[in-house]
Each structure stands twice: as C-alpha cells, then as structure tokens.
C-alpha cells in the first residue's frame, strides 16, 4: 500500500512542474513588456508598482532564469507580496482564507455523497419508475442551471421573501453577543445556502453516474448468482451490487474537485463569504497579479491533492488497483 502511495506521489512531480510552467506562462501572456502593459491597464499604477513588478519577475534576466528563481521562491513558500493596499505576503493571505473554502467544499462533498448516491441507486433499482423519471428530469435540469442564478433565486425566496436565512457573510452582526449554541446555529444558517449551491452542480453528475453504474452492476453474473442462491433482494442490492457500484464513484468525486474549487469564485462572491474564491475574484478585479497567480497555483495543487486522495482511497477499497 505504501509503495502504491509513493508511486502515485512520484507520478505527481511532472504534473506539478507542468502546473508551474503553465502558471508562469499565464504571467507572460501580456504581449510586450508585462510591466508596461500591466501598469497601463491599472489606473492605480505607479512608479513604485513598476519597480515591484520588475523585482517580482526579475525582468532584466533571461526567461529560463526568471522561471528558475520564481520556482526557487515557490519552494520556500514565497508567493510574493500582494499589490493590494495591505502589502501582505500572498501566501499568508491565501492561508488564512483556505480553511473556509475547504470547509465549504468538504460539506458540499458530504451532501453530494449523501444525496446523489441514494438517488442514483434508487432510480437504477426502480428503473423506469415514476421516481426514476422525475429524478431524470431534475438531473437534466441540474446540468443546465446556472448556479449563480439559482443562488439569486434562493436568496430572493428564503432570504428576502420568507426571511428565514441570511443572504451574505458567515456571521450575523450580533454574533459576539450570542451563546455558543446560538453562534453555532448562526453559522449553520449562514452556511445552508452556499453549501447547497456549491453542492448542486455535483449532485446531477454523481447521481446520473451512480445510476448508470448500478444498472451495469445489476446485470452482472455474480448478482444473478446471489439471487440464485436465494438471498433477499435487499441483500442482493445493498450488499452485493451497491459495494461494487460505489467503487468507481470515488473517481468521479475526485474528478469533481476542480469544478467545486472553480465554483467557489462564484458562490463565495455571491454570498460574500471570505474564502479563497472571493479573494481570487477581488484580486482579478484589482489586477493584483501576485495574488491571482498564487491562488491559481494553489487551486491546481489542491486539485492534484484531491485526485491523489481519490486514487489512494480507491486503492484502499479495491485491491485490484494496488496490485496491478
């Protein structure tokens, strides 16, 4: 098992290098001298900023040296200094916001698993039933709904029309005066809509995948064997079929991670949640390049780590993978 994990980590190294090369190329996208272009576009440009850009990119050196010294800084965890008025290191700014984003992504993953898998399994077991047809329609619409629009509608309905849920931020104004239990309830109330919206995109995909998977497994010979030896339908479905259908779902969950992280820009901006996605959006709007590049890199690394976790858990669950 350890050997398998080490092997996977080893295979990640070229990907990691590729990620840094792409990040570096995005920085060089601007035609002509990046210093001139960036500062021209930015109304807040100043001589000082030009100097800092020059220092950051080491523009007086050849490109491979620029890349190499940037990489060396990265390996020390140095992502540069933000252009925003706080002049703080980018790494620190990202680090303080990552927990919120990861918490939200984690909760949405839990919801996706808890909702999509039963839906997929039930609609496969009762294929062509009314339930299957209704969920089929929902899944189809789920693929097509712009999540930010759904967020607006839910804000209007639950936040403004009914007044049940807060529509922005993570805490109420009176948060500090609440009891610990009250603070918890307050946080949960603030999280309901963002987590639902973040999970929504993944729900359709996973439930459809689970359904297809389950349908395939049910047709296998060993299911027929299980039925033939007189097991109850319950045991056949939930013990024999479900376990085998669940395995590939781990991969799909891993694949849905970049979508979740990318989506954080949208729902954190809509709901004013102080996470990494919102920081990214603000950095893009303010043309705070060190922060933009830092988050782009971290987002890709998080995806890589997420995929590693998915691969490893697949190997834990399925011995065939780690042996071959």
């Amino acid at each position: 098992m350890l050997k398998y994990i080490l092997k996977r980590i080893f295979f990640m190294i070229p990907l990691l290098l590729g990620i840094t090369i792409i990040c570096f190329s995005v920085m060089r996208l601007a035609p002509g001298s990046p210093v001139d272009l960036e500062t021209q576009l930015n109304p807040k440009s100043s001589v000082e900023m030009k100097e800092r850009l020059k220092a950051l990119y080491e523009l007086d050196k050849p490109i491979h040296q620029q890349y190499w010294s940037w990489l060396k800084k990265l390996s020390r965890g140095d992502l540069g200094i933000s252009f925003a008025s706080d002049h703080r290191p980018v790494a620190a700014k990202i680090l303080e916001r990552i927990p919120i984003t990861i918490l939200l992504e984690f909760l949405s993953l839990l919801i996706i698993i808890a909702v999509a898998i039963p839906i997929g399994v039930l609609s496969a077991v009762h294929q062509d039933s009314l339930f299957d047809k209704i969920t089929g329609v929902f899944v189809f619409i789920g693929f097509a709904v712009p999540t930010f629009w759904l967020a607006l509608l839910l804000m209007i309905f639950f936040g403004i029309h009914l007044g049940w849920l807060p529509i922005s931020g993570l805490r109420s104004l009176n948060y500090e005066y609440l009891t610990p239990w009250g603070q918890f309830v307050d946080l949960v109330k603030h999280l309901v809509l963002p987590v639902f919206i973040s999970a929504f995109g993944g729900l359709a995909g996973l439930s459809r995948y689970m359904r297809a998977n389950m349908l395939e497994v049910i047709r296998q010979d060993y299911i027929m064997t299980a039925r033939a030896k007189g097991l109850s339908e319950r045991d056949v479905i939930y013990k024999h079929a479900l376990r085998n259908a669940l395995l590939p779902a781990i991969t799909i969950l891993g694949l849905s991670i970049p979508g979740l992280i990318g989506g954080s820009v949208i729902f954190e901006t809509v709901f004013a949640i102080p996470g990494m996605g919102q920081l990214f959006y603000m950095a893009v709007m303010a043309r705070d390049y060190p922060t933009v590049m830092g988050i782009l890199l971290i987002g890709a690394i998080l995806t890589l780590v997420g995929n590693l976790i998915a691969d490893v858990s697949y190997a834990v669950a399925d011995p065939r993978i780690r042996i071959s």
């Binding site: 590729g18 990620i19 629009w149 297809a212 933009v292 890589l304």
Partner: protein, 275 residues
C-alpha cells in the same frame, strides 16, 4: 433506420432543435423582435415591474429587460459558437495527432491534457482575463482555449480504435500520406462524436460566459448579455426580482435546448454511443 428518421422520432431531440432554432431566429431578427432599443435609458421608468408596456419590466436605468434579453441572445450565440469552434479545432488536431501517431507524441500531448485538467477551469479563465481586457473577443478565445481537453481525449480514443481498421490499412497500402489518412479517412469517421461534443460544448460555453458576465469580467455593459442583466438583478435583489428571474430562465432554456439536441444527435447518429 437513417439518421433523420431516428432523429425525428425522438421527441426530446425535436424539442431541443426547436429551442435552438428559435434562438437563432431571435438573434438574427433581434432588431425586429425587440420592442424597444436595448440601450434606451428612461429615468422616469426605473426598475418597473413587468407590465403591458414592459413585459419583463425595466432595469436600474429604465431600459426594457425583454429587449435587452433579445439582444443578449446574440451575444450568447456568438460566444457559444466561437468558443466551441476554438476548442473543437484545438481538441481535434491534438487528439488526432496523439491518437494517430501514438508513442512519445501521444505521451507528451496527453500529459499536457492532464496538466491542463489540474486547473479549475474557472480559475484559469479568470487568471487569464486578469491579464487581458475583458472584451467579447477575448472571452470567446479564452473559453475556447481552456475547454479543449475533453475533445482531445474523445478524438484520440476514436483515432486509436480507427487507425487499425482495414480501410486505413488499405489507404496506407495505396500510398496515402499521413495528412490524407488523418483528415480524409479517419476524421470523417470520428465526426459523429465531435459533433455531439460541439453541441454540448456550446451549452457549456454559454454557461461560462454568463457566469463571467455576471461577475463583471465578461461582456461589459452597456452591451446587453444575460449574465450582466443578472448582475443588475443581484444589485437590486430586494426590490426587483424580475431582473434576476428572466435572464436566468433564458440561460436555462438555452442550455437545456443544446443539451437535448446534442444527446438527440448522439442517439441518432450512432446507436453505439448511446449511454
């Protein structure tokens, strides 16, 4: 059964083509369909709810929402087609080369695909936009440049299975060059899956464009797009629900339309592709 017979029997596919056709007509004849000039500011009728004069209400500058949505259909059609065109061309070329030649060429291209897939697409798009002006042309190209990986995998898989077939071997025997085999013999056989990917890709590109415009980094006002009308909806969320409801509904229906059409084409062109 031929393609058209199967396609015409598929009610969902017909619904999809109906929606897509309607959108084409609306975009083409936007100046005739729109009851008002989409840029006409009317400060006496700001944020008016839907009425007989303004069927879908007015926005924060008194502009007619229906007219802006009709013109917005043009934008989403343009962006959808152009962005998908870019990603289909890149994806097909890379996938064809990787699948046909195999070996290290294939390995290099597919590692590149893996690396690109590590980036949350939306992050990559936003990062690139931060360095460029958010114009409609840049948006189209950027969405296209970040969306070709799926097509590459698809086309590569098709090429790998097709290159060993007898007709390809026969073409080689009569001395056809690589280019002729790739474009003249194999590609036509991979067109079915490319066409389906393109149709579904248009839906995805329209969703991405609307999200970008909603965030204020896509199509810039005063050019109307469904996404930037929704921005106004968010800014006036407590007083003007119609600004939020209708443009999103238009996006939803459009995307459903392209998805239905894409799945319809898939089921009719090639029953083997049916899921």
């Amino acid at each position: 059964m031929g393609f058209w017979e199967t396609f015409c029997k598929n009610k969902l596919a017909l619904t999809g083509s109906g929606i897509v056709l309607l959108l084409f007509l609306v975009s083409l004849f936007a100046p005739w369909f729109a009851p008002y000039d989409p840029g006409q500011i009317d400060l006496k009728n700001v944020l008016m709810p839907p009425s007989m004069d303004h069927w879908l209400g007015t926005d924060q500058l008194g502009r007619d929402v229906l007219s802006r949505m009709i013109w917005g259909a043009r934008i989403s059609l343009k962006v959808g087609f152009a962005a998908t065109g870019v990603s289909i061309v890149i994806g097909t070329l890379l996938g064809a080369v990787a699948g046909y030649y195999g070996g290290w060429v294939d390995a290099v291209i597919m590692r590149f695909v893996d690396i690109m897939l590590c980036f949350p697409t939306f992050f990559l798009i936003l990062a690139v936009i931060a360095f460029l002006e958010p114009s409609i042309w840049n948006i189209m190209i950027i969405i296209g440049l970040t969306g070709w990986m799926g097509v590459t995998r698809l086309v590569r898989a098709d090429f790998i299975s097709l290159r060993e077939r007898d007709f390809v071997q026969a073409a080689k025997v009569i001395g056809a060059g690589d280019l002729r085999i790739i474009f003249g013999h194999i590609l036509p056989n991979a067109m079915a899956s490319i066409l389906v990917a393109a149709t579904l890709g248009i839906a995805g590109a329209i969703l991405t464009e609307s999200a970008l415009s909603f965030l204020g980094i896509g199509v810039q006002p005063p050019t109307p797009s469904w996404g930037n009308i929704l921005t106004a909806g968010k800014d006036n969320i407590d007083i003007a629900w119609w600004l939020s409801l209708y443009p999103g509904l238009a996006i939803l229906i459009t995307v459903v339309g392209y998805n239905l059409l894409g799945e319809g084409i898939r089921d009719s062109l090639d029953p083997r592709l049916k899921k």
